[in-house]
Amino acid sequence: MAIPNFLYKGNRVLLKELTKTDFKLRYQGSILGYLWALLRPLMMFAILYVVFGKLLRFGGDIPHYPVYLLAGTTLWAFFTECTNQGIQAIVTRGDLIRKICFPKYIVVVSATLTAVINLLINMVVVAIFALLDGIAPSWTWLLAPLVLFEFYCLALGISFLFGAINVKYRDITSIWDVLTQALFYAVPIIYPISMIIATSSIAAKIILLNPIAQVIQDFRYLVITPETITTWGYVGETNPALPFIPILLVIILLVWGSWYFRKKSKRFAEEI
C-alpha cells in the first residue's frame, strides 16, 4: 500500500483488459457497431437543432450556432454515459466482486473509460464540423483537453459516490435518471445563457456556477467562439474568486466520492 494503487502493474493490466472487453462488447451484435458511438450524439444533435435551432430560433445571435449546439450535446452525452455506466458498474460486475478480490475502483474506472474513448472519437467529429463551418483552428484548442479532464473528474467523482450508495440502495439509478433530466435543462446546452441573463442576471450566475455549465461554456469559448459567455467572464465580474467555486466543487466531489467509495468497498461483496 506504500505505492499508489493505480501504479501497481497488475491493476493496470486488469484496467486495460476490462476496458477492452467493455468497449468490444458495447456494440456487439449491431450492424453499425462502433458507428453508434458517433451516430447517437449526432442524431440527438439533429433533433435538438431542428426543434430549437430552426423552429424556436434559440440560436439567434450566436455565431456558429450548429457547432455550438453540437459541442454542448456531445459533452452532455459524455456526461450521462459516463455517470450512468460508472454508477451501474459495481452492480453489473457483481458476479466478479462476489468471487474475486481485486481493487473495486478498477471496475468503475474501466466503465467510465469507455465513455472517454467515445468522447474522444466524438471530439474529432466536433472538430470536423467546426472546420466545415469556417472556424479557424486556434491555439486555444490546445487548452480544451484541460476542460475535458475537469469534466471527467466530475463524472468520476459522481460515479464513485453514487455507485457506492447504489450497491445498497438501487433507488440511486432511478434518482440519477430523473436528476440528469433536470440537469439537462439547468445548464445552457440548448438555450444560450444570454436568454437567461435577459430575464435574471442572478439566475444566470447561479447556472454558471454549476461545474457542468462552466465546462460546456469554457469548451465553447476555447473551441468555437470567444464571444461565449463563461463563468470566468460573467461571474468573475462580480467577484474574481467566485469562478473557482465550480472547480472546487469538482475537487470536493472527487475526493469525497473516492473516500466514500473506498470506505464502502470493503463490504461490496456481502451487500451486492
Binding site: 497488475g10 483488459e17 472487453t21 466478479l96 474475486i100 478480490c101 440502495y169 438501487r170
Partner: protein
C-alpha cells in the same frame, strides 16, 4: 517457523442479514424513523485460528452453513473480517467458482487473458502459462472461437485448467476437483494426486473420498469454530458421525 505460508488468528466474521425487505431507500428511512435495525447479526466465523505450512494440502469440511465458504472467501480477501488477522506469505490464487468473469462473447484466448488479469497476472505471465493451460484443457483448436459456442463441458475444462495452471503459491478451491467427462475427470484426479505434498492447496469439500485421497491434513468446522484439526482419515470419520 518460516515455512508457514498462511497464518490465521482468531478470525471473526458476521453478516448483517436484512430481516424484512430492507432493500431500498424508503425502507431504510422507515426503519431509521421507527428505530428498527432492519437486520440481524449472524455470526458465521467465531474465532478461527490455524496455520498452513508450505506444501500442505488442506481439506476444509463441515456441514452446509458451518462457515467453510465464508472462511475461504475471507482468506481470499473478498470478505473483510471484523476481528482477527490473516497473514499470507506468497501469492494466493482463489477459485471460489470456476469461470468467474468468463464472457460468452469473447474468444477462448481472450477469456484466458481476462481471467488471468482478474487473478492479478500480467499479460506476460499469462503468455508463459498460456500453452500449458490450453494443453491441459485439450482445447487448442478452439481458442479463437467465442466461448458461447463451447459446450458446457469445454467451458468448465477451460476454467479448471486456468485454475490449476495459474502459477500461484497457494491455491484456494471451493468444491472444484474434477470436471468434464470421465477421461478428463481422471486427468484431474491424477493431477491432484501428483501435486499432493508439492503445492499448497486449501480445498473446501463435502467429498470425504477426496479428503482421504489428496489431503495431508483436514479441518472440520462446526458453527464457525474449528471442531477438529488433523489427520484426514480421522476427520472424515468424525464428519460422517455428525449426523449418524
Amino acid at each position: 517457523m518460516s515455512d508457514i505460508v498462511v497464518s490465521v488468528k482468531n478470525l471473526h466474521k458476521s453478516f448483517k442479514l436484512p430481516t424484512e425487505r430492507a432493500w431500498g431507500l424508503k425502507q431504510a428511512i422507515f426503519n431509521r424513523l421507527k428505530g428498527i435495525k432492519g437486520y440481524k447479526e449472524q455470526k458465521v466465523l467465531n474465532g478461527i485460528s490455524f496455520d498452513v505450512r508450505k506444501n500442505e494440502f488442506i481439506g476444509i469440511v463441515g456441514r452446509n452453513g458451518s462457515g467453510k465458504s465464508t472462511l475461504l472467501k475471507t482468506l481470499a480477501k473478498i470478505y473483510f473480517p471484523e476481528k482477527g488477522s490473516i497473514n499470507i506469505n506468497g501469492t494466493l490464487v482463489p477459485f471460489i467458482e470456476l469461470g468467474v468473469g468468463f464472457n460468452p462473447e469473447l474468444s477462448g484466448r481472450e477469456n484466458i487473458y481476462l481471467n488471468g488479469a482478474l487473478l492479478g497476472f500480467s499479460n506476460k505471465e499469462m503468455d508463459a502459462m498460456y500453452d500449458e493451460i490450453i494443453d491441459f484443457a485439450e482445447l487448442r483448436p478452439f481458442m479463437d472461437q467465442k466461448l458461447k459456442n463451447y459446450s458446457s463441458g469445454m467451458q468448465v475444462r477451460l476454467a479448471f485448467s486456468i485454475a490449476i495452471r495459474a502459477k500461484g503459491d497457494i491455491l484456494l478451491l471451493d468444491e472444484v476437483l474434477a470436471v468434464g467427462d470421465a477421461a478428463f475427470q481422471q486427468k484431474c484426479a491424477d493431477y491432484f494426486a501428483s501435486i499432493k505434498g508439492k503445492q499448497t492447496v486449501i480445498l473446501v469439500t463435502h467429498d470425504m473420498g477426496n479428503v482421504t485421497k489428496y489431503c495431508t491434513r483436514a479441518i472440520l468446522i462446526e458453527n464457525g469454530k474449528i471442531a477438529l484439526d488433523g489427520d484426514p482419515e480421522k476427520i472424515a470419520k468424525a464428519y460422517k458421525k455428525l449426523w449418524s
